[in-house]
C-alpha cells in the first residue's frame, strides 16, 4: 500500500491572490486544503489486540523461549546549534510557524547552503564519544524525494562516506531489569538536515507546511542489530540520550522530537542463522513506548510463527499506537526506494585534520560510562550511580557538593532524597532549584561538625512562625544585613546562629521537619529560592536557616 497521508483531498486555493502576502517577506505559508487529513491505515486484526502489561510481558517471555529477537535502531538527534545546518536562521521548538525561515532553508531559487561548522564539530564529538572511526575526508550528498515538507526536493545528507563509522556504546542495565553491562555496536553516524512539518489541522480541511524545522541539523546514528529485548533497546536509546546531553550537542528531548528512534525488529527461532523479515516501527515518543512496542512486535511475530503464518510477517513500516498499545501497518515496502543519491555540488568536501580531531578529543567531557565507572570506584551502589549519572546536571551538582564537603553518603542521600522529591513535586530540573550545591555542601558540613544544634522539638512548626523568626533576626541585625548584602556572605553563619538560637528558644522545630508537608509545600520554595527577597530577606538566607533541620 502506498503512502496515502494526503489522499482524498479536493480543494481550492486558500489565498487565490498572493498579494496578501506582499509584506510578509520570508514567511512561507504553504497550505494544503483537504477534506480528510487522517492517515489512512490498514489495521489488521491482531490475535493479541488488547494487551495488558502483564499479558504482554508473559507473551514476550514465552516468545523468547523459542525465538531470538534481533533489534537495530536508527536514531535522529537534533543538534543544539545556534543556527541551522546551512543558513543563519535560529530555530527553537514551538516557535510561530514559518518564523524561522530564510531563502536558504525555504529552498528559494538561487539560494545556496553554507555549512555551519558547529555541525561538523558536534558530529566529530559524537563520533569520538561513540568510539567510532572518523572519515577524515567525507562529503555531503543529496537524497532525492518529493514531499511538501522538503522544500528543495532533496535532503542534504551523507550517503556512502558517513563522517563516523564502526563504533560502540557501553551501558549498565538498571537492577530492576536484571542489571548487567552491555556493549552495542554503532554502524555509522552521519550528518543531515531535518525536513519541515506538515500540520494537519484537526477540524480544518487543509494541511499546512511549517518550514521552521527545515534545515535544522541532525545526526543519524545507526546501531548494529545487537539488541535482543525491548528493555535493551530502550536502554540503548536512553544511553544515547545521556551521551548527547553530556556532550551538550543536543537536548535529547523525545517529546519535542529532538531524539527520534526508528526500530527494526525481526525474530528467528533460536539456533537459526539467517535473520527473519524485519519490520520497522515508528512513532516512538518515549523509552517506555519503545520497550513496549518492541515487546508487542516480538510477541506478534512469534504468534504468527507459531500459528504457521510466518509469511504474514512482511517488510513494512508499522506505527506504535499509544492508545491501543499496539503496532499497526503504516506502509508496506514496495521495493527499494531509489533516492538517486549524488554528491552535493553546492558544498565542498568535509576535510578533517588530525589537529582538529585531537583538539576535540582532548576537550571531550567525561562521558556517562566513564562517570559510572568512577562512581563505582567511589563505592557508590549501582542504583545510586545510575541515579546520579543519569542526568549530567545532577552529576555535576553531586560533584560540586562533594567538592565542598567530601561526604559522599550524605550528599547522595540529600540529592536522592529531599532534593529529588522536591524536583519531582515541583516539576523542576536541578538547575532550576535555588539551593546551590555549595550551600548544600555547607549545610552538610555544618551538620557534620555539629555547629548546628540537634535540639529540635517534635511538634510541627507553623511555617509562618519560622518566617516571623527570620524576620525578627533580620530586623534585629540591620548592620550585619547591610554587610551581607554588600557581599559579606560569610555572615550566613552569623544569621544561622541567631536563627537557631531563637528557634531553639521557641522550641518549635522538629526532627522530621524536612519530610513534613509544610516543609515541602511552604518552606522549600523559599529554601530553594535564592532570589526570594521578600520581607527584605537576603537571597539564599532562608534556605540556609531552614536547612539546618536536616540533622538525622
Amino acid at each position: 500500500m502506498a503512502l496515502t497521508l494526503l489522499r482524498g483531498i479536493q480543494t481550492r486555493p486558500l489565498f487565490p491572490c498572493s498579494s496578501a502576502f506582499v509584506t510578509r517577506k520570508h514567511v512561507l505559508f504553504c497550505s494544503m486544503q483537504s477534506t480528510q487529513t487522517e492517515t489512512t491505515m490498514k489495521t489488521k486484526q491482531q490475535p493479541h489486540s488488547n494487551f495488558t502489561e502483564t499479558a504482554r510481558a508473559k507473551a514476550v517471555e514465552k516468545a523468547l523461549k523459542d525465538f531470538e529477537a534481533i533489534i537495530g535502531i536508527e536514531t535522529h538527534v537534533q543538534l543544539a546549534t545556534m543556527t541551522k545546518a546551512f543558513c543563519s536562521c535560529a530555530y527553537s521548538y514551538g516557535d510561530q510557524p514559518n518564523s524561522c525561515v530564510c531563502p536558504v532553508c525555504m529552498g528559494l531559487p538561487g539560494a545556496l547552503p553554507v555549512l555551519n561548522s558547529k555541525v561538523i564539530e558536534y558530529a566529530v564529538m559524537l563520533g569520538l564519544a561513540l568510539n567510532c572511526k572518523l572519515s577524515m575526508n567525507s562529503k555531503f550528498d543529496r537524497k532525492q524525494y518529493f514531499y511538501p515538507d522538503l522544500p528543495k526536493g532533496y535532503q542534504i545528507s551523507q550517503f556512502d562516506i558517513p563522517i563516523a563509522t564502526n563504533g560502540f556504546i557501553d551501558l549498565d542495565l538498571p537492577l530492576e531489569f536484571g542489571g548487567g553491562h552491555r556493549r552495542f555496536g554503532i554502524t555509522r553516524v552521519h550528518m543531515e538536515e531535518d525536513a519541515g512539518k506538515l500540520l494537519h489541522t484537526g477540524t480544518g480541511n487543509y494541511s499546512q507546511v511549517d518550514l521552521n524545522r527545515a534545515g535544522v541539523p541532525l545526526l543519524e546514528i545507526v546501531s548494529e542489530p545487537d539488541m535482543r529485548t525491548g528493555i535493551e533497546a530502550a536502554e540503548y536509546a536512553a544511553e544515547l540520550q545521556r551521551v548527547v546531553r553530556y556532550l551538550g550537542v543536543s537536548n535529547g528531548n523525545m517529546q519535542e522530537g529532538s531524539l527520534r528512534c526508528d526500530v527494526n525488529v525481526s525474530i528467528r527461532p533460536i539456533g537459526q542463522l539467517e535473520f527473519g523479515t524485519k519490520v520497522e516501527i515508528k512513532n516512538l515518543n518515549a523509552f517506555s513506548a519503545m520497550s513496549r512496542a518492541i515487546d508487542f512486535e516480538i510477541a506478534r511475530q512469534a504468534a504468527l510463527y507459531n500459528e504457521g503464518k510466518a509469511e504474514e510477517i512482511v517488510q513494512e513500516t508499522r506505527l506504535w499506537e499509544e492508545g491501543s498499545q499496539k503496532t499497526v501497518t503504516m506502509r508496506k515496502k514496495e521495493g527499494l526506494a531509489d533516492y538517486r543519491y549524488f554528491p552535493e555540488p553546492d558544498l565542498p568536501e568535509v576535510i578533517l585534520t588530525e589537529e582538529y580531531v585531537n583538539g576535540i578529543h582532548d576537550s571531550l567531557p567525561e562521558l556517562p560510562d566513564m562517570k559510572r565507572r568512577r562512581y563505582e570506584d567511589m563505592g557508590l551502589s549501582m542504583q545510586d550511580i545510575l541515579f546520579l549519572a543519569n542526568d549530567v546536571n545532577v552529576a555535576d551538582y553531586f560533584e560540586a557538593t562533594i567538592a565542598k564537603v567530601p561526604d559522599i553518603k550524605l550528599a547522595t542521600n540529600w540529592i536522592m532524597g529531599d532534593i529529588a522529591a522536591y524536583m519531582k513535586n515541583e516539576k523542576l530540573s536541578i538547575n532550576e532549584i535555588k539551593l546551590s550545591p555549595q550551600e548544600l555542601g555547607e549545610l552538610i558540613a555544618s551538620i557534620k561538625s555539629g555547629t548546628i544544634s540537634g535540639k529540635i522539638g517534635k511538634e510541627i512548626v507553623d511555617p509562618v512562625e519560622i518566617e516571623k523568626i527570620v524576620d525578627k533576626v533580620i530586623a534585629n541585625n540591620p548592620k550585619q544585613l547591610e554587610q551581607y548584602r554588600g557581599g559579606k556572605t560569610k555572615l550566613q553563619g552569623f544569621f544561622a546562629g541567631q536563627l537557631l538560637y531563637r528557634v531553639d528558644k521557641a522550641r518549635s522545630l522538629e526532627l522530621d521537619f524536612c519530610s513534613s508537608r509544610s516543609f515541602k509545600m511552604y518552606v522549600l520554595p523559599f529554601f530553594f529560592s535564592r532570589n526570594s527577597t521578600s520581607n527584605g530577606r537576603p537571597a539564599g538566607f532562608l534556605s540556609f536557616c531552614v536547612g539546618v533541620q536536616k540533622q538525622t
Binding site: 498572493s18 498579494s19 528559494l108 531559487p109 538561487g110 526536493g153 507546511v209 549524488f342 555540488p345
Partner: protein, 558 residues
Amino acid sequence: MVILFSQAGSSTRRKMLSSVQNPRFLLIQCRRSKPFHNRYHQYPKSIHATSQVQSVSTSLPTSQIQKIQKSILSREKTARQFAEEFLNRLRLTEPHVKSFLHVSQTVLNEADEIDRKIDRNEDVGPLAGVLVAVKDNICTADMPSTAGSKILENYRPPFDATAVRKLKEGGAIIVGKTNLDEFGMGSTTEGSAYQVTANPWNLECVPGGSSGGSAAAVSARQCVVSLGSDTGGSVRQPASFCGVVGLKPTYGRVSRYGLVAYASSLDVIGCFGSSVADAGILLQAICGHDKLDATSSKREVNDFTSQFVAKDIFESQPLKGLRVGVISETLGDGVDQEVVSSIRGAISHLEELGCIVTEVSLPSFSLGLPAYYVLASSESSSNLSRYDGVRYGNQIVSDELSSLYGGSRANGFGPEVKRRILMGTYALSAGYYDAYYKRAQQVRTVVQKSFKAALDEHDILISPAAPSAAYKIGEKKNDPLAMYAGDIMTVNVNLAGLPALVLPCGFVKNGTASLPVGFQMIGAAFDEEKLLRVGHIFEQTLEGCSFIPPLIADEFKC
C-alpha cells in the same frame, strides 16, 4: 489538494515597454538578406538591408563604462542623459530584438539620484550611471525573476543575487531582465517560455543562448553591459553570435548566490560588453569571495583595469613571447569553413602581435560533450526538484499529492527542461549511476588534466566559440542533438572550470549580409587578468572590423 505558497514579492505583471514609433527609427538601415517577414506587427516596413557592416565605422571599441564615468564626473554629461540615450534606443529596438522580459521603471529616477550625488560631491561607484541588463535567471528583489520558465511566472525573489547587489553597490542601474532559454537549458534562447529573441545582426537568426537576451541587448546597445550565466557556453556562444565580448570567469570567481541553479558544479555568472575593458570592469565589480556561496573562491582578486592601457602606448609587438596553443580538434570536421578562416585570421593577428602560436591536441576534447550532458542533466534533475507547484507557479488542482506534483510540473516546464530532467533522473538512477554519472565524472577529471597539461605549456589556448555563426530561428528547434553538438567548443571549459574570453574577430557571409564570428581564449584557473590583457590588445589592434549591428548602425556613423 492545493498547497499554497505566499510569494515574498508581489504579483506585478511583467511590464514590457510599449513600442514607440520613432520617426528616426524608420531611417535606420538594417542589413538583411531578404525582406523581413512581418512577425511582429510593430515592425516598420521600410527597413531594408543595404549597407555593408564593415563600412559603418572603423572606430575601435572603447570602454563605455569608462566613458560614462569620465563624462558624469566631469559634468560633461549627466547620468540621466546617458540613461535616456540607452532607453530611447531600447524602445526603438526592443520590438524587433525582444531581449527583455522585464524593463525597469525606475531607471531615470536612479540616474537622477546619481546626478544629485555628483552635484553634492558625494562618492558614486565605478559603475555609476551604467545601465546593466541582467539575465532573468539571476535574482533581483525588485523585479520578476522567472528564469524564462512558466513555473516561475510572476515570481519575485525576496533578495538580490550577490552579483546584483554588488552591481548596485557600484552605482549601476539595473535596466531590466533579459530573455533566456528556460533555466539556461538551450543554445538559441528559443527555449524561453515567454518570447523568442532575435539576433540584432539578422532578425531572422537566433542570438544564441542561453544568455541570448543579454548578448542581444549589448549588441543592440540597449544597455552598456549585461550579466549572463554560463553552464556549457551560455555566455560565450551568444557573444560570438551577436558580435560582443563574452567573459566566462573561473568557476568560483563570482558568487552563484542568487543564480537560479541549472548545474551547480558548472554554473558561473558571466559578463557581456561591447569592449574587453567593459567586460573586465563588470567582472571586477561582481567577483570575489561570498560567504553565501561555499563554492566561491577566497583567492585574492587583482585589479583588472590596469590591463586596459591605451593603444598609443602599446609596443610594436605587445604580446611578444606569449605562448598560444590552438586546440587542433576544434578546427577540423564539423566546423564551418568560414568560421575556421576567421579563427585563422585571428591567429595571424596574434602572431603579428608577437605571440608564439602552436597547435595543441586535446584528445579528450570530443569526450566533453557527452560527459557535459550527463552531468548537467543529472544536476539539473535535482536542482529543479524544488519546482513542485507548492511555492511557485501555478499549482494544478488534484486529489492526490503525486498528481499535484506531476501536473504542476508538466504544465510549468517546457519540453527541453523536461528532456533534461528525464535524462538526469535516468543517469542518477540505481543501476545506471556507475555507467553514466560516475563515468562522466571520470571523463571530467580526464578533461581537467588534459587542460592542465596544455596550459602548463601555453599561456592561453584558442578555439572557435562555436562551430558556426548564428543560424536561423527554428532551424534546430526540433533537433536537440544538433543543438547540443553546437556546444562542443565551450562545454569542456566548464568541465575544467577554467576562465574563457570570447571576442569578435571577423564575419561570415550570410547571403548578402554578414554575421559576426567570435573566437575563444581559454586561460588557466583564476587567470582572467591575462585573458583580459590579451583580449584588450587584440581588440585594440584589430583594424577594419566594427561590431555594431546594422539595426542601430546609423546612430554610430558619426
